[in-house]
């Protein structure tokens, strides 16, 4: 049984086919990368697995369970975490305050517990707080825990977003262009973090434009173009795949071409 399996996934927005009949498998414990030019349907692909969009046709299985029509928050409880292309953090709150709520889905306290400050509420607040400290330590941000998000650098925000996803105790984490808008040194740091996440047993699936980064990082790469999967394989296979080379400007260097596109940033 595949960990995550997509069968014939298609998503249409009106007349536009954003994802076109994609079959794909994500293996547990591995780092999978999705590449493709802007508008190729990568973010939409994530939104489909994550549950923001319902596919026009096709099915998605997670650990053998059909999650095609599962709402986003249920998917998260099953262990599917993700980050966004733009971080969506609460800028005025501190880093730790942003992260604490990440563990909310594993707690049970209700309104009643809040008003009467029950033992459960106190315990779970403590658990969520500890979890936040733990994941901030994991991503290396302990020293910034008390800083308002608006005051920390872009790269740190990306780490906060990852910490937040990590706080949900996920089995798989989808990262939408985590390295966009940060410098090469920091990119390397982020690569290390992804490897560390994978080593800790979390399956990673990332959208990335920085090819050098991906080549050294991914176990498997899928290439999307105009919504369709045009290739999948190991980094070496992808680099030498004639269809991929063809798609990227009729024989041009795929690395250069993808980088050319990485500037524009779109939300969900």
């Amino acid at each position: 049984m595949a960990f995550i399996q997509l069968k014939g996934i298609t998503k249409k927005f009106g007349g536009l086919t954003a994802v076109d009949n994609v079959d794909f498998e994500i293996e547990q414990g591995k780092i999978t990368a999705i590449i493709g030019p802007n508008g190729a349907g990568k973010s939409t692909f994530f939104n489909l697995i994550n549950g923001f969009h319902k596919p026009t046709s096709g099915t998605i299985l997670f650990e053998g369970k059909d999650i095609t029509n599962t709402p986003v928050h249920i998917g998260a409880r099953l262990g599917i975490a993700r980050t966004f292309q733009t971080t969506h953090l609460f800028e005025q709150a501190t880093v730790i305050d942003n992260v604490i709520v990440g563990h909310r889905l594993r707690t049970k306290s209700k309104l009643y517990d809040a008003i009467f400050r029950t033992r459960r509420e106190k315990q779970e607040e403590q658990i969520a707080y500890q979890k936040a400290l733990e994941v901030l330590d994991f991503v290396g941000l302990t020293h910034m825990a008390k800083a308002p998000v608006s005051t920390i650098p872009q790269e740190a925000k990306k780490r906060v977003a990852i910490a937040l996803a990590l706080a949900t105790d996920p089995k798989v984490m989808f990262l939408d262009e985590p390295a966009a808008g940060i410098n090469p040194d920091e990119t390397e740091g982020l690569s290390q973090l992804m490897k560390k996440l994978a080593a800790s047993g979390i399956t990673i699936c990332t959208i990335e434009h920085k090819m050098q980064m991906i080549m050294g990082l991914a176990d498997k790469i899928m290439v999307l173009n105009h919504g369709a999967k045009i290739a999948e394989g190991t980094p070496t296979e992808i680099k030498n795949n004639p269809i991929v080379i063809e798609a990227y400007l009729g024989g041009g260097d795929p690395v250069a071409e993808v980088n050319r596109h990485h500037s524009e940033v779109r939300g969900v």
Partner: protein
């Protein structure tokens, strides 16, 4: 640590002041009455704050729910002959039940649509009260609402006793609001306000949480409405008017939306300001309207929010060496 004691001291002082206030103005019914009305509106504004300030959903039906609470108490006590306390309890329950049903429908709409939808629902409640003569007394209103029944030896005939009664509920409301905001539930609401998409990916059932927040919010409005009916002993359709909800909103914005002291500060400030300008009643809005616009543009987090930010700035300036990349905190986009 000193800061915490400081804050606690302020709260204790305020409560003490509220407690001795009637002794200072023992022979001034008018002042006590204004203060009591102010407390009632404050309760309602706290409700609005939980939904708009913390969960990020601007409901313009709030006055409608205030009116449902007020009319429930009015109708149950005058026509139903019910004991006030039972009527008040039922009024809150009725408001919550109505809020649950309307919330279920209204919350399927988002942002602008939610605001417009609730504005219109609020107006429908107003029209319903205005037209349903047999039940509500229509445009003539509902008169002769009895004062609260005595509890043992305690009676509610004097302005002072009503003052304390309402103060009790105000403190209760603030207590509940503080508890909610400082809980995991409160964090959940803030996460929804910040970004519904992000909240969902964190496993938060946004629909459910918004609905609960909506019901809490209207419960506050219903309670306030019920108390209002007992205090004024006369209610008309105006309690449901859009002007009422605009007033609540103004108190909230000027006091500080999304802050815990904002509703109290804003409401009390305006209630007294309005008394001060009483002879120019129709023209209040010549000043208040522009104040509202000015606040939203320049101080979107209100008086208390602005104060808090100054404090933060001051503190972070002191701690500059601890944090490397300090920038001044942008004033806009507090509530996204």
């Amino acid at each position: 640590m000193g800061k915490i004691f400081n804050q606690r001291n302020i709260i204790i002082l305020l409560i003490l002041f509220a407690l001795v206030f009637p002794l200072i103005y023992a022979d001034n019914r008018y002042v006590l009455h204004v203060m009591t009305i102010g407390f009632i509106f404050t309760i309602s504004v706290y409700g609005m704050n939980i939904l708009a300030g913390y969960t990020g959903q601007l409901s313009l039906a709030h006055a409608g729910f205030f009116a449902i609470g007020a009319y429930s108490v009015g109708i149950l006590t005058t026509q139903g002959g019910l004991n006030f306390w039972l009527a008040l309890l039922l009024a809150v329950l009725i408001t919550c039940a109505t809020g649950f049903v309307l919330g279920l429908i209204a919350l399927r709409t988002k942002t602008h649509f939610f605001a417009i939808y609730t504005l219109i629902v609020g107006y429908l409640i107003y029209l319903l009260i205005d037209k349903w003569d047999g039940l509500t007394g229509g445009i003539r209103g509902l008169i002769g609402i009895p004062i609260p029944d005595p509890i043992g030896p305690i009676t509610f005939e004097s302005a002072t006793s009503m003052y304390y009664l309402v103060l009790f509920f105000l403190l209760l409301a603030i207590f509940v609001a503080v508890r909610i905001v400082h809980s995991l539930t409160g964090r959940t609401y803030i996460a929804i306000r910040n970004s519904e998409d992000l909240a969902q990916t964190l496993g938060i059932n946004t629909t459910m949480n918004k609905l609960v927040s909506f019901v809490i919010s209207v419960a506050f409005a219903g309670l306030a409405g019920g108390l209002y009916a007992a205090l004024t002993r006369f209610i008309g359709p105006d309690v449901a008017s859009t002007h009422m909800v605009f007033n609540f909103l103004m108190y909230l914005i000027v006091g500080g939306i999304g802050t815990l002291s904002g509703p109290l500060v804003g409401t009390m400030l305006f209630i007294w300001f309005e008394q001060f300008l009483k002879s120019y009643q129709e023209y209040h809005m010549l000043i208040f309207g522009p104040i509202l616009v000015f606040m939203v543009i320049f101080f979107p987090s209100g008086i208390t929010g602005g104060f808090y930010k100054l404090k933060m700035k001051f503190q972070s300036a002191k701690n500059q060496k601890n944090v490397r990349h300090i920038k001044s905190i942008p004033v806009k986009s507090t509530k996204e």
